[in-house]
């Protein structure tokens, strides 16, 4: 019943199942057909579902998103692949002005059941524009939902749930985790899409993360466990909506919160979490919410990315600082 799969493969299997279950699901993107996408997430799907359901488009992201809006109006459920994080910006206008607003402006008459898949984050030694973490732009945008799986099992289920969701979902795939493996049981019952999860329980400090940073944070928690420090790691899974009750529930027990993400901390998800949690747990917090994240600088050339990306040491540095309060 279970199979060992990489995240890329899990997403592929999830897409396949979603396409089997609903023939209104169509995939659009650059190089997603014969090539199967530059990360092979759509591998074999065009062969099996045909060119009308796995559509290689002209090289224009605004065009892809705009066409997806029209397809959604015609009753399809478009799943769009943006080749890399840095190439979503040409489509920003269509996403922010049209995709996000269509349901509201039509007073509920139109649905935009669309998934925008974006491989994101750094750590793969790529050239510029291939390692960005633009999630805050989308989470700040009302009308969009934003989620990010951190592991193959979540990848498999979340992509299907996102496709079934009647709202547009920006689906951030942690590209440096595409090749990580896990056991997948396709007969299991998945967690709900718009909920976070305690990835590792602990009593001393809450460590919130998502996507590519979950592995790093779990490693960090494991590293300090021997010292007797119990870090509770929360995998957010969903950034909009934000499962703030889960986070606050944890913080009410630990009294401390560290948030880690690759994106620049300045106006990043950590800022919102700090603001919300501090408001809700003001008398419980024994330390200010500390943030570990990217610097306020463009993603550096890859030979510097190990410095830019929050690693185990930087996460633990923040954990230490939190505990020192």
């Amino acid at each position: 019943m279970t199979e060992t799969v990489t995240l890329a493969r899990a997403l592929n299997l999830g897409l396949r199942r979603a396409m089997e279950e609903d023939d209104k699901v169509v995939l659009l993107g650059e190089d997603i057909g014969k090539l199967g996408g530059v990360f092979r997430v759509t591998d074999t799907l065009q062969k099996d579902f045909g060119e009308h359901r796995v559509i290689d488009t002209p090289l224009a992201e605004s065009g892809i998103l705009g066409a997806a809006v029209g397809l959604a109006m015609r009753g399809y459920r478009p799943v769009v692949e943006i080749q890399f994080d840095g190439f979503v910006y040409p489509a920003f206008d269509q996403i922010v002005s049209q995709v996000a607003k269509m349901h509201a402006r039509s007073q509920g008459d139109l649905l935009m059941p669309m998934v925008i898949r974006i491989p994101y984050g750094g750590g793969i030694g790529a050239v510029e524009h291939h390692s960005e973490s633009p999630e805050a732009y989308f989470a700040h945008t009302a009308g969009l939902r934003v989620v990010s799986p951190s592991n193959p099992v979540d990848g498999y289920w979340m992509v299907q749930q996102a496709i079934r969701c009647n709202d547009p979902v920006v689906f951030f795939e942690p590209k440096r985790r595409y090749w990580e493996k896990a056991e997948l049981d396709v007969a299991a019952t998945p967690d709900p899409l718009f909920a976070g999860r305690v990835a590792r329980p602990g009593r001393d400090v809450t460590l919130v993360c998502y996507g590519p940073m979950v592995r790093t944070c779990l490693d960090a928690a494991a590293a300090v466990a021997a010292d007797g420090v119990e870090v509770e790691v929360i995998d957010l899974r969903t950034l909009s909506p934000l499962d703030i009750d889960l986070v606050c529930g944890s913080v009410l027990r630990t009294g401390r919160l560290v948030v880690a993400h690759e994106a620049s901390t300045f106006l990043g998800m950590g800022a919102e979490l700090a603001a919300m949690v501090t408001e809700r747990c003001f008398y419980t917090l024994e330390a200010p919410v500390l943030r570990v994240g990217g610097f306020h600088s463009p993603y550096p050339p890859s030979r510097l990315e190990e410095h830019y990306l929050p690693d185990l040491d930087r996460v633990l540095d923040a954990v230490d600082r939190s505990l020192a309060y």
């Binding site: 015609r74 009753g75 478009p78 402006r105 509920g108 709202d167």
Partner: protein
């Protein structure tokens, strides 16, 4: 600038109301069709004038007048069949009318009581799109969907889509990407450019130095320029291109050569950038007058017909005026109601917090203390 030659312009009815023939485009309309077009044109103009008046009276925040573009809109709108779908800009009141959208619904956006106003799926008429160019891609996507449906149903025809845009819009990346997608997928879409010569204050030559319809050839499909003030020509040309699209002929582009007779919107002051006298030449090309002359000349209508149309127009205007004034302000909860189709925790929290906040004013002793009112502020402190 190469402004094109008269020979490039498809015309079937001269400004003087004379029927002329064109080798590529014929019309097949009955006498009552001709009268119906005249009626449409007149009613659409009346709706537009009324809306402008309503804006002046403070009932609308803004209005984008179609004055001068009635033929382009009625001619193309009436060429659509029920299964076709239209994607308008913010000025296609005449197309909306032709699609059967209640004109009152058009006022909702401009009155500020809605960001939409009608159910797009009901009459296959999309919401107005204000961000220039965006809708052209939606149109192509929709057309791709029609094509997929057709393939799945093994049908030999599909519906067709018409995408409206302006001369200014022709400069937007989205519009050009729409051309590319349409050509690449051979989508059943007619790009209908109302070249009214102005993008707010910018004259056509800022956007292009050759006639816009010629853009099509470079993208691999047909383009044609039609006299946009000639409802017969517009109708004939649009009908043919839609039919081609439905039959699998792929995309094409129509440039309706016309003129924006009014201000860009009621917020605009054209005296800053164009001479009133520039309008003279175009006044002689009025889209309604020529149909009237034609009907007279050909004795297709008599005075009683014209009187009746005028009376209908007046009645429509009165209904519109009354309906507009009665349009209620939306409930504040609308801010939260349709942000998402499924519940979203942050929205729901804000929604109930705001409801509580509003309720706190109701509960206060002084019921004048309403939020948003200056009175409220004073009472409060």
């Amino acid at each position: 600038m190469d402004t094109g030659t008269p020979g490039e312009l498809v015309q079937l009815l001269t400004p003087e109301g004379e029927r002329v023939e064109h080798p590529d485009y014929a019309i097949d309309l009955s006498d009552s069709d001709y009268r119906a077009l005249y009626r449409d044109l007149t009613l659409v103009r009346r709706i537009d004038l009324e809306a402008t008046a309503l804006q002046r009276q403070g009932e609308l925040g803004l209005w984008a007048s179609l004055l001068g573009q009635e033929a382009a809109q009625v001619g193309s709108g009436r060429a659509l069949e029920a299964d076709d779908y239209a994607f308008p800009t913010y000025r296609e009141h005449g197309v909306a009318y032709a699609r059967g959208v209640d004109p009152l619904r058009l006022l909702a956006l401009f009155r500020g009581v809605s960001n939409g106003g009608w159910d797009p799926q009901e009459k296959n008429f999309a919401l107005y799109t204000i961000v220039i160019g965006n809708q052209c891609l939606h149109a192509v996507g929709y057309a791709m969907g029609m094509q997929m449906d057709q393939a799945r149903a093994h049908a030999d025809h599909s519906g067709a889509v018409i995408a409206y845009f302006g001369d200014g819009a022709s400069s937007q990346g989205d519009v050009n990407e729409a051309f590319i997608f349409a050509a690449s997928f051979n989508a059943p879409v007619v790009f209908f450019c109302q070249n009214n010569q102005w993008a707010i204050s910018e004259p056509l030559e800022k956007q292009t130095r050759v006639p816009l319809y010629r853009r099509a050839a470079g993208f691999g499909f047909d383009g044609v320029r039609v006299d946009g003030n000639d409802v017969l020509a517009v109708h004939a040309v649009t009908s043919k291109h839609l039919a081609d699209a439905r039959a699998g002929g792929g995309p094409s582009m129509i440039e309706a050569f016309t003129y924006r007779m009014g201000a860009h919107t009621t917020s605009d002051d054209p005296s800053r950038y164009r001479l009133a006298s520039d309008l003279e030449a175009w006044r002689l090309k009025d889209p309604i007058e020529r149909v009237r002359s034609f009907l007279w000349r050909q004795q297709l209508a008599d005075q009683s017909f014209f009187d009746e149309v005028d009376a209908d127009a007046e009645a429509l205007a009165i209904g519109l005026r009354q309906g507009c004034r009665a349009l209620p302000d939306p409930d504040p909860d609308l801010m939260f109601a349709n942000v998402y189709a499924e519940p979203h925790q942050q929205v729901e929290e804000q929604r109930s917090a705001f409801a509580d906040y509003l309720a706190s004013f109701d509960a206060s002793l002084d019921s004048a203390a309403l939020p948003g009112s200056a009175a409220g502020a004073e009472v409060r402190s």
